[in-house]
């Protein structure tokens, strides 16, 4: 038996609905036989009547409603059809959910699922990676699972957390990524994971780019380089300790992210290492992001717009040569 990343998300939701009557799922086209634009809730509406609900095209109200339900003791999961449409809900997410605990001492346990990242031919409005926007503001936890196992356990964790969680699931991984089985135990929430140990260079990344980084690590092994790959898993909080410990071992840092280049996760990773681990660095740190334009539609352009194993490998070799 094998489980895809998407099936892991569906399975996590199945269990959450089964085990916790406070959970319901709210989103566009998630109910009925249809089960969501990506089928993340396929079958759930029938199995759990009244708890998987279609909404009008009203992202702002979807999140607002979830906030209200959370204040009344529920644990709503909101599915955005694409991360990109959450821009409409950004005000509810950051200014309402994200401030409520600080202001009133009452937390808002909502989980907002964002189908994120680029896929072929999806263009500027169905490809975005929004973790940087949400992480910049206080009051939210931002998860970016890279593996089938994490997709599963972190979604269960997300719903258990009393604070708002933005759960960024990567659309490219939905079908491409498979595991043999779902894990029984979860890695601690908020901790980064060293997915491949090394000694020459640390690549810090998350979500789909973890797999590109691993491919580069494999490739460069042929040249005698041992690259350590750190999967952040959660970009806010960002597990600085694990990153610093890795850089302490390798002396070199490359931060890789699929989002836009100005600010965002890679800037934050480099800023933390430069400020807190400056003397650990034997060479200038570097970063690779998408280009600073909207995400192009045509696959020829898209595949160059985002970081890929080729561009990561080139940069990694540069750092290693320093």
């Amino acid at each position: 038996m094998s489980v895809t990343y998407l099936e892991a998300i569906r399975e996590a939701q199945t269990q959450l609905l089964r085990d916790d009557e406070r959970v319901f799922i709210y989103g566009q086209d998630i109910a009925g036989k249809f089960g969501g634009a990506f089928k993340a809730t396929k079958g759930l509406a029938e199995k759990f009547p009244g708890r998987v609900l279609n909404t009008p095209i009203s992202e702002d109200a979807m999140v607002g409603t979830a906030i209200g339900a959370a204040l009344e003791g529920m644990r709503p999961i909101v599915e955005m059809q694409f991360a990109d449409f959450s821009s409409i809900a950004l005000n509810q997410i950051l200014n309402n959910a994200g401030t409520h605990f600080f202001r009133t001492n009452v937390p808002v346990p909502i989980t907002v699922r964002l189908p994120s990242g680029g896929t072929k031919g999806s263009g500027p409005f169905h490809s975005q990676s929004m973790e940087g926007l949400y992480s910049h503001y206080p009051g939210v936890v931002v998860m970016t699972p890279a593996t089938v196992e994490d997709a599963y356990t972190m979604l269960i964790d997300a719903v258990a957390i009393d604070d708002p969680v933005i759960y960024c699931e990567h659309k490219y991984l939905y079908y491409h990524l498979k595991a043999d089985a779902l894990p029984k135990e979860s890695f601690p929430v908020g901790k980064a994971r060293i997915v491949r140990p090394g000694r020459d260079l640390t690549i810090v990344t998350y979500s789909a780019m973890v797999h590109e980084a691993l491919a580069v690590a494999n490739e460069l092994r042929n040249d005698g380089f041992e690259i350590e790959v750190v999967d952040l898993r959660t970009v806010k909080p960002l597990d600085t300790a694990t990153v610093l410990a890795s850089v302490a071992r390798t002396g070199r840092l490359l931060a890789v992210g699929e989002a836009f280049p100005w600010g965002g996760v890679t800037a934050e990773v480099i800023a933390r290492v430069a400020t807190e681990g400056f003397h650990l660095l034997d060479a200038a740190p570097a970063r690779i992001n998408a280009k600073d334009t909207p995400i192009p539609y045509h696959p020829n352009l898209w595949s160059e717009h985002r970081p890929n194993r080729k561009s990561i490998a080139v940069k990694a070799r540069q750092i290693l040569a320093e």
Binding site: G50, T55, E59, T65, E72, Q92, N105, D162, D163, T240
Partner: protein
Amino acid sequence: MLQAAAGKGKSTTKKTAPARSTSSKPKVHDRYLEAFRWMLLSRILEEKLASLYRGGMIVGGVYLGKGQEAVSAACGMFLQKGDVFGPLIRDQAGRSAFGEPLIDVVRTYLGSVKGPMRGRDGNIHRGRPQENQLAMISHLGAMIPVMVGKLMAKRMKGEKGFVGLTTLGEGGMQTGASHEGLNIAAVEQVPLVVVVTNNHWAYSTPNEREFACANLVDRAIGYGYEGHTIDGTDLNACLEVVETAVKRARAGRPPQLVVAEVLRLAGHGEHDDASYVPPEMKSQPFAQDPVARTEKFILENGLLDANALQQMRAEISRQVDEAVSMAQQEDAPHAREEDWRGLSTSPLIDNPSA
């Protein structure tokens, strides 16, 4: 506990309270007088806050409900234990009627660390989410879907007979958030009453630059709501219409939209002299002062005599003054004692390098 601030605990006492007038319709007069008391409390409290503001004693701004006391009081009065209230900036009367302790108000304005928001947020944003009074954010319309979610959750939990009431200005009706919230409430068929007070101004912007329909109640049909209009300066009308709307929502009818017409009888906030309001507007029927109008009705109909009225006023003033002097003696928040937590889950608090 200060009496005028007794709050929702009173939803039962309401029925058993002795008639305060000699009228032959004690129940009606009772609630009229109760409403008036909330209106007067709001007026006196706000006058005090305005004077403290002028004296530089207030942290932040002061936004008055002057002119909206009748409709606001009505908003708080028909809600029972288990109901939810989502007030906005001009709802002191409704907040008090719903049960907000007077001291909460004063503490917030005076910056006491004992206030419900502990100095972290202020004044009109204050709320008591655990007592079903939502804590508004500034972005107008954002609280409507929050109310919808509260009501959906109650239904999911098997509660029955509850209702939610939330208020909005005519300006706030134009935000996308309001629209999405109003619509989703109807789709979910939650027991909701939305009271929109058209006070003819959104800050300095007159109605004709806000919307182009004849009356905002014309929005009701397009959302699948039942619509009502009221002269918001007429307390009797406010009580009757809001009561009807609340009853209908509670009985499972579609969401209710109530539109009340008044004039904002103060600046947008106390920093604003409202000199943009044309003098002609001040003699329009909707520009009547509801407190004065109600007082006149009370005297003319002998619900209370001048003496009793004067006593009520004095009693409220005393309560307000007591609350103010209590709050004034309390500590302000201190940065050193603040734990600076943006999340309730301590291990997940991020520590960016400084």
